[in-house]
Each structure stands twice: as C-alpha cells, then as structure tokens.
C-alpha cells in the first residue's frame, strides 16, 4: 500500500513539474544581433 502511495505521489509530482515546464518554459533563444529589414527597391528588382 505504501509503495502504491509513493508511486502515485511520484507520478503526481512528475505531472505537475511537466505541466509547469510545458506552460512556463520557452523554446529557444532570441536573436543575438541584427534585425528585420523590409524588402524594397533593389531587393525586388
């Protein structure tokens, strides 16, 4: 019984941790340098 309780508690904690990571984390790093430039004039010739 105790083993079952521990297993359920472990699964519960893992679920909570996974949910927090899934919802709060981000999936990458921002660009380090540079930026966006509109295509115009010579770019479209």
């Amino acid at each position: 019984m105790a083993l079952l309780r521990r297993a359920l508690a472990a699964v519960g904690i893992a679920t909570v941790v996974a949910a927090v990571l899934r919802l709060r984390g981000t999936g990458g790093t921002p660009p380090q340098a540079g930026g966006w430039r509109e295509l115009s004039g010579p770019d479209l010739r």
Partner: protein
C-alpha cells in the same frame, strides 16, 4: 471585353479579394456570392457598379472562381469549376481541404486550368516567401514556417481546430505525424510582433511546399499559440471568434547550400492576415486571368508564380515582406 471573376464568400478574406479585383480596370465584373445575403449586399454596395450579387455560385458564369468560403464548401465548388474548365483560386488552409484540392491536379491539367491552392496568408504568402528565399540558394535542405495570428472568424475557428489536430512534418523524405502542441520553438517575427512560442499543429503549408521543392529533406510548420489557446484547444471555442483578427505575422526559414557553404535565409511579413490573404488571392486571380501564370494543374504559390515580380506587385498593394539580417 475583360475577364469576369466569381468570388464565393464575402467574409473578411473574400471581401478583400473582391476589393482587390475591382480595383483592376481590366476585370469586367466581379460576381459576389455568400450565404449571408445581408453581408453580400453590403460588400457589393461598397464595391460599386462592376460588382454583381449572385444568390447561388455558378462556376460557369465567370472565367475564374475565387473560393473564400469556410473549408466545408471549398472542394465541391472547386470540382464544379474545374469540370466547367474554369480556373480556381482557393484560400483553403485546412490540411484535409488542401489535400483534396491538390488531388484535382490531374483533372486540372487535362482541362488546361489552374487550381491555385492555399493562395492566402499561410499557406500562400508563406509559400511565396519560401520560393523567394530558395532563389538565393543552390540546394534546399530545410524549410520551416511559423505563423502568428488569425484573420476572420473562419480563420480563427481553423486556428483553434489546428491546435488539436495532428501535425505533419516532412523528414527524410517521408511524412511524420506529430502530436499537436509539441515541438515548442521560440520564433521571432518582424516587429511589432517579436518573439512568440510556436507549436506543431495541423497546418497545410508542408503539403504545398514539399511537391514544390523536390529533394527537400525537412519541412515543418508551426503556429503561435498562447497558454489559453493550448489549454482550451480540446474544448469548443469558449468565445465567439472576433470579426477580424489583429496583426499577424509569418516567418519562413530556408536552409540550404550556396556553393559548398551552408546558408540560412529568413524572410517574414506582418499584416492583418485577412488583408494579406485577400490581397494574395486577388493578385493570384489577376495573374491567372492576365496570362502571367503558365502552370497548369493544382498547386501552391511556390509552384505557380515567379516570386520576385509577384512580391513586387504585392508590395505595391501594401503587403510587404522583410528579411532577417543577423544571427
């Protein structure tokens, strides 16, 4: 005598498409059909005398049919139009509909007509940006598309459904099914959107990009979503979709080789998705009736058009692309 165009659907995208077409003096008449008569009447009244309301869309009544209806009616209308030997421009964005429209390829070739599939924001402008980026590379290895934002109510419903649908990744020359909401990636869109977490979803871009880039190894498409979007994706929409979405964005990353060196080109765009989709669909229609598209069959814009002059025309209409320069 100029060409005539039938626009099916007078919603956020259809109305913009009709407006784009009516601005072209070489288009003799634009027939507008919509199940919502009140909306159709309002759109026709705003477009002027060359816009004609029709109760039932008859594909034989025009030279080209633009289909901007919700996904359910698109395939039947396209089939009727192709059977009648009429060109078709569809703004479909659901995987199922896009696949069925692409399946019209053989019949479209046989009847010498064009079926422009997914000629909207994404797919549509996304395919065009991929083709334009690819022009600077010798070989294309990977294409990754991210989309942010929605257009009208039908687009918002499709966005909601896409977040619970299976994603399709093209990897090592085969389709891989991916769980919806997986594969989180922080994508940076042109300003003012900036960074947004994007996830795998049921998106049709890959279905049109893979045949247009033979030999490509990886193609993925992701959708920007908020925590609430993801939490509620499996539920019916909790709120009625807005009439018009806010500003949206596209980011298309193409990786390949230039000579012996590996290179990555990132293009993007920001606009209200319905406005951009209507402009892209309208311009595609104008190019087809103007004889500027030699392609026959069914395919996406990456297979249909020459990207540079098309982007130039789009830029004149206010839809502008951007390039990311940096690391």
């Amino acid at each position: 005598m100029g060409a005539t165009v039938l626009v099916c659907g007078a919603g956020a995208v259809g109305a913009r498409t009709a407006r784009h077409l009516i601005a072209d003096e070489s288009i003799e008449a634009v027939f507008v059909a919509d199940v919502n008569r009140k909306r159709r009447t309002a759109v026709v009244a705003a477009l002027g005398p060359r816009a004609v309301p029709v109760d039932e869309p008859d594909p034989t009544s025009a030279d080209l049919v633009v289909i901007a209806t919700p996904a359910g009616r698109q395939v039947d209308l396209a089939r009727q139009a192709v059977a009648a030997g009429r060109h078709v421009v569809s703004v479909a964005d659901s995987v199922h509909t896009v696949q069925r429209l692409v399946d019209l390829d053989a019949e479209a070739r046989e009847r010498d007509v064009v079926v422009a599939v997914g000629a909207g924001f994404s797919p549509g402008l996304s395919c065009l940006l991929a083709r334009h980026a690819a022009a600077d590379l010798d070989t294309i290895d990977e294409i990754h598309v991210s989309k942010h934002g929605t257009g009208g109510p039908a687009c918002a419903r499709q966005h909601h459904a896409a977040l619970r649908g299976t994603g399709l990744d093209w990897r090592d020359h085969a389709w891989r099914r991916r769980s919806p909401g997986s594969g989180r990636e922080l994508s940076f869109f042109p300003d003012p959107i900036g960074g947004a977490d994007c996830y795998r979803a049921s998106l049709a871009d890959g279905l049109l990009l893979v045949p247009a880039f033979p030999g490509v190894e990886r193609v993925t498409a992701r959708l920007a979503a908020t925590r609430r979007d993801r939490f509620t994706a499996s539920l019916p929409m909790l709120r009625r979709p807005h009439a018009e979405g806010r500003i949206g964005g596209l980011r298309v990353e193409v990786r390949g080789r230039r000579g012996r060196a590996q290179d990555t080109i990132v293009l993007g765009a920001v606009d209200r998705p319905a406005v951009a989709a209507g402009t892209v669909a309208g311009q595609t229609a104008r190019w087809i009736v103007g004889g500027q598209i030699a392609f026959r069959g069914a395919g996406g814009l990456a297979a249909l058009v020459e990207p540079l002059p098309f982007l130039r025309d789009l830029s004149r209409s206010g839809v502008r692309a951007a390039v990311f320069e940096g690391t």
